[in-house]
Symmetry: C2
Subunit: 418 residues, 2 copies
Amino acid sequence: MARIVMKFGGTSMAGMERIRNVAARVKHVVDQGNEVAVVVSAMAGETDRLVGFCKEASPLYDPAEYDVVVASGEQVTSGLLAMTLKAMGVNARSWLGWQMPIRTVETHAKARVESIDTGALVAAMQSGQVAVIPGFQGMMDDGRVSTLGRGGSDTSAVAVAAAVKADRCDIYTDVDGVYTTDPRIVARARKLDMVTYEEMLELASVGSKVLQTRSVALAMKEKVRVQVLSSFDDPTQDELPGTLIVGEEEIEDSSMERQLITGIAVDKNEAKVIVTRVPDKPGAVASIFSPLAEASINVDMIIQNDSKDNAETDVTFTVPRADLARSVDILEGRKGEIGFNRLITDAEVSKVSVVGVGMRSHAGVAAMMFKALADRGINIEAISTSEIKVSVLIDEDETELAVRVLHTAYGLDADVAA
Amino acid sequence: MARIVMKFGGTSMAGMERIRNVAARVKHVVDQGNEVAVVVSAMAGETDRLVGFCKEASPLYDPAEYDVVVASGEQVTSGLLAMTLKAMGVNARSWLGWQMPIRTVETHAKARVESIDTGALVAAMQSGQVAVIPGFQGMMDDGRVSTLGRGGSDTSAVAVAAAVKADRCDIYTDVDGVYTTDPRIVARARKLDMVTYEEMLELASVGSKVLQTRSVALAMKEKVRVQVLSSFDDPTQDELPGTLIVGEEEIEDSSMERQLITGIAVDKNEAKVIVTRVPDKPGAVASIFSPLAEASINVDMIIQNDSKDNAETDVTFTVPRADLARSVDILEGRKGEIGFNRLITDAEVSKVSVVGVGMRSHAGVAAMMFKALADRGINIEAISTSEIKVSVLIDEDETELAVRVLHTAYGLDADVAA
């Protein structure tokens, strides 16, 4: 017997036929003797429809009323799943965000979970009743409806799992786990049995779309064991194991042999900006990045070339592609103040990252990456690193080649079946 | 300065363009210095869509979860109207059923309003903030969502008006008031300036679809002055006066000349059943109607023919058309017990009713009706009366003719413009 939080996304909730499948999966887990809470997203497309109404109402819509409107999508699916479970003979009820309540703070439309009152919820679960909880929504201190920002249902699920002290939080998705890299790029990509929070966090932040970054960060903070698994298996059979996301110590305890690198992620949402011939003097670089920071533009990789004559230097950095035009506007508006010559931009770049806690104890991971890419003539335009990640910026056209080269170089390729 | 509750139905809320029109009308009423609460329905078609999901989930859906699902339609429109008002510079906020709360009792899916906590609501209205309230929804004592049954938004509006002691409850509809009869049948039908609660109640119960019967009964009980008016007038201009529904004393105080009859209503939802050759002995009639009552079938007009030979009699009555087949099944199943010969049914009948408080003090209203119909050869198949109503059952084909004949006979025809 375990206490399990199950989470189903919008694709799994899109229409009654799929909701019946979800209910059958929940019933199977309940029948195994587990205490279950289910967190659900709105039907696929529904949140977009509701956000569309809000934008039509006013481009500067009131965020508190936006929350009232968009939270309704999850209210609908939670009610429908609860009644489907009851029709299948499974004791169940819906718990709306304000009914527990899930208390949130900060700002409407992107609230943060502060606490969850679980007294009544846990009592109901212990009595054998499945708790069906709409993801994405909560309640502010003033009693008004809030939402956690797009994709917030993963975060809701992890927050509920932490609050009810669940043994596991199972996130059902359209993939059957976390892979060493995107299987559409590398046919020999392998599904990982386990990955650490830190690795998943880095993978999520550099392009892996399996889980929302915020939900992983919360799972790490609250030590919630998360499993990513497929929602498309036969719901009346035991599910196939997915990928467990857990603390490093749990992986060390297991007898698994760890690879140097756990996974390779790709992010095509960056763009490169080169600011040429910036005066090489104190404050020059700050004069570039301060106005971007004020405009909430998230600058990632930064390279300052060696000054050839100690008078001028080129500064290269990346920004989200969606912010490229705005970044250029801001810098051109301060051309005199910064004193640069011109801006060169390139949106056709991609960031390829290798991630793994193994690199903490092994030197040479970055060097292996640079050499593997150089051997295939792939030019590295920028580099950034963290404790467990090395990212390189390359020409977008060479993305798939680079990923395949690195996947082989780090020994990640699966054995091909005979 | 007055305190006014405005109510808009699903047609008025169907899409952002119409919601903007509603917001403009609300702004106009606010700009005149009034304190305003607005009660809204879901977008036209939305409640049907949500009910469809529930029926698909299970024919015997759980009513508590049904309420969670269908209440979301009004949640969406209340948020959208509030944000549209704010975008127009009108201070506004939505108040969901559980936020005031609107406390309801009895049963899910057809709850009854018990009380409304108006402290915070009235304070907000007094501060100049428009309260936007989703109709149809409330909260049970156990903190769960409830709904008032289909068409419940009129009732919500009247309940809110009573709770906040509004000077008037304005119900915006797709007609511009209550008419002496259906203008599609009688071109010379007149819009009524005023009608009493009792008259409106009788008109609503016999086919007038302007207002829900429950909402009129509540208005009468709580003495809420209700106005029915058109939602399609130019929202930036003062609205054209509609029909006021008020107490009899208020009409007597006005200098208006009252007609003998206020209005004529048609109900085509009845069907006639004749049970032939029932033994004319004590208990025979009870053996017909008891099983129908047990099956919650609402029997309306009942006629027992004179027994010709003191041994057998024919019993005629009407039931809702939707219950005709079930009624026949029930009676055929007890044929031996009741002892009748056979059942004759006729679904092609219609009930025409004349309504007016004037008939309390005037004899001969019914006689005038029977004579006017007889003069045109219209056969009366059954009759029922109340203190302020006379209803006759006639052949459905003669409905329009009968209404026109009666409209002229009671002097209701409008003067034709020269």
